[in-house]
């Protein structure tokens, strides 16, 4: 049995080691804020933080997580960058259907934690892996800049 730390809580996992973290979070731990969209690392809705780095959880076998700290959308509000991004998202009404937004927020929070004042090129580099079918990109970009200033 594997143990992983999610949002500073330790969980014993029943799933096999090759099960993607995404399905452990959603189906086993009930942390459904992290979404499924493609399963092939093309949409980003499953993004979580692994030791602060944005990672597509649909690609990460839970057995490879080890001691590293997982943060999900349910927990990212406790980080400074996460809280600022969430607030900016509301201030600017970024969200439409909202399905992609946990992933967008996780990518954006990881970006801001590493780069407090990202320019457009840095935003592209960090955010281009996150699709939004509702097309909220204009406000995502504004939201990141807004959060950076806050």
């Amino acid at each position: 049995m594997t143990a992983i730390s999610v949002n500073r809580k330790t969980y014993e996992i029943n799933a096999t080691e090759d099960t993607p973290l995404l399905w452990v979070l959603r189906d086993e731990l009930g942390l459904t804020g992290t979404k499924f969209g493609c399963g092939i690392a093309q949409c980003g809705v499953c993004t979580v933080h692994v030791d602060g780095m944005a990672v597509r959880s649909c690609q990460m076998p839970v057995g490879t997580v080890g001691e590293r700290a997982i943060t999900t959308i349910e927990g990212v509000g406790e980080t400074s960058a996460g809280a600022r991004v969430q607030k900016a998202w509301l201030d600017l009404e970024v969200v439409q259907c909202g399905y992609c937004q946990p992933g967008q927020i996780m990518s954006a929070a990881a970006l801001l934690a590493a780069n407090p004042d990202p320019d457009d090129e840095a935003i592209d580099a960090a955010m281009a892996g996150n699709l939004c079918r509702c097309g909220t990109y204009v406000r995502i970009r504004q939201g990141i800049k807004h959060a950076a200033r806050s």
Binding site: D18, I40, A41, Q42, G44, V50, M53, V55, R56, S57, Q59, M60, P61, T64, E121, A122, D124, A125, A126, A128, G129
Partner: protein, 444 residues
């Protein structure tokens, strides 16, 4: 693993041209595939060690069906004789050659469209000599110059395996060769020159493991058909054995023991892992034709057989190649001043970085590592481009895979992202153009 043999008009002309006789002699009279090994090959019947042919010891008492399936997997018939999405062994897979397209025939026991009416003798004649029941000669896209080394028993075990398959009624598609390539009698001449028509001869001075490996590599696995370069007459150039070749547009890399271009600095364990699972940590993932070889053939072999292959491969002398040494780790910062390729970067950050990471170390799983991978450190760039175009093959249970991007990304975009990947993670950037990508698309 023989996918494609290029038969040029020059080949035919050279056969006939008296002036070329000397050159022809050089090409014809060349060492055998394992002449490099110390010792003197002897007939199998005279060999006293454990048999290098047939199934491995642990399967010796298995049911005949299991043994037949194993030998068929050793020889990897299925990959070529199955069309994409088609029924296994029913043929129809296209191989696009410069002078036309060749379609593999139906090997299921359907009496009309398959091989259901073939006798043992006809089957042996086809596999050992490349001669069809009607007397015509096969193109050496069918690797009979390798298969000729298979023992009669093994060939007939394959036949038994094929005859136990459900028959599939699927007519063979004719090849689309125009004159003069449709002149099959030319193949008789080629065959006389280049098919030794000789069964495997073990080398008693070498270990039993080595001999088993030689049989698996040279007779059944036909590795050289892709990994050994070809001479002017499209025969394998054994003087540059395993120095690298081409398979359906993919570069089949140097697998001689050259330390830089070849596999000389791979550990036995890395080789075994790569062959049996298609992946070795830090070495990349077997893709394209090699991915199929792993999936349909090598992954079905026993540990001991994989070990034998590794032993044999590591004994092959070094053939110096011209590939650069592998580059080291790449930086994590997206923006690198030395790479001016905005289109490539745009595609990479959108479609690639999620798995491969800006460091190229693999974001979430090691199979996605790009640094240290030969294809990425090949300024030719073909394999990276083909991987992007076609992906690593469809999903199979519990195996990661890379999707294909060829359907909606343009030739300019694929060229750009290939050049970006080789620049960022390799030793020397590739310089592919949209035209190069168009050519790769056409080569299957």
């Amino acid at each position: 693993m023989k996918r494609k043999v290029i038969l040029s008009l020059a080949a035919g002309a050279a056969v006939l041209g008296a002036a070329a006789l000397g050159l022809t002699g050089w090409m014809v009279f060349q060492p055998g595939p394992y002449a490099f090994a110390t010792g003197k090959p002897i007939p199998l019947s005279a060999y006293h060690g454990p048999s290098p042919t047939g199934v491995p010891a642990e399967l010796a008492s298995a049911a005949p069906a299991a043994r037949g399936a194993y030998v068929a997997a050793m020889a990897d018939c299925q990959a070529c004789h199955t069309a994409p999405g088609g029924k296994p062994f029913a043929g129809g897979r296209a191989f696009v050659l410069p002078f036309g397209t060749i379609y593999t025939p139906n090997l299921t026991p359907d009496p009309e469209t398959g091989i259901g009416k073939w006798t043992d003798a006809q089957f042996l004649n086809a596999v050992h000599r490349g001669i069809a029941p009607d007397g015509s000669h096969y193109y050496p896209a069918f690797p009979y110059p390798s298969y000729t080394r298979l023992s009669d028993e093994d060939v007939l075990a394959i036949k038994a395996h094929l005859f136990a398959l459900p028959p599939v009624k699927q007519a063979n598609r004719p090849n689309t060769f125009g004159f003069p390539y449709n002149q099959r009698w030319l193949m008789a001449i080629w065959s006389a020159l280049f098919n030794p028509n000789e069964r495997f001869r073990p080398v008693p001075e070498q270990s039993p493991e080595w001999n088993r490996g030689a049989y698996l590599v040279e007779a059944a696995g036909h590795c050289g058909e892709c990994h050994t370069p070809r001479n002017l007459m499209q025969a394998l150039d054994q003087r540059a054995k395993f120095g690298g070749g081409v398979a359906e547009g993919w570069t089949a890399y140097n697998i001689s023991s050259d330390k830089i271009s070849g596999i000389g600095d791979w550990s036995a364990q890395e080789l075994a892992s790569y062959l049996s699972s298609g992946h070795a940590h830090g070495r990349g993932v077997a893709s394209g034709p090699m991915g199929e070889a792993v999936e349909l053939s090598l992954s079905h072999l026993t540990k001991a057989d994989i070990g034998a292959i590794v032993t044999y491969l590591r004994s092959v002398p070094s053939v110096k190649g011209d590939l650069p040494a592998l580059a080291g780790p790449a930086p994590a910062t997206p923006k690198l001043a030395r790479i001016d390729n905005p289109v490539g970067k745009r595609i990479f950050e959108g479609n690639c970085a999620s798995c491969h990471a800006w460091t190229g170390a693999g974001a979430a799983r090691e199979e996605a590592q790009l640094t240290g991978v030969r294809a990425v450190n090949d300024p030719g760039g073909a394999n990276v481009a083909l991987m992007i175009l076609h992906g690593s093959g469809g999903p199979t249970p519990h195996r990661p895979y890379m999707p294909d991007f060829g359907k909606v990304y343009s030739n300019d975009e694929i060229a750009a992202v290939t050049n970006y990947v080789t620049a960022r993670f390799g030793t020397e950037p590739s310089q592919l153009t949209a035209d190069d990508i168009a050519r790769l698309r056409a080569a299957n």
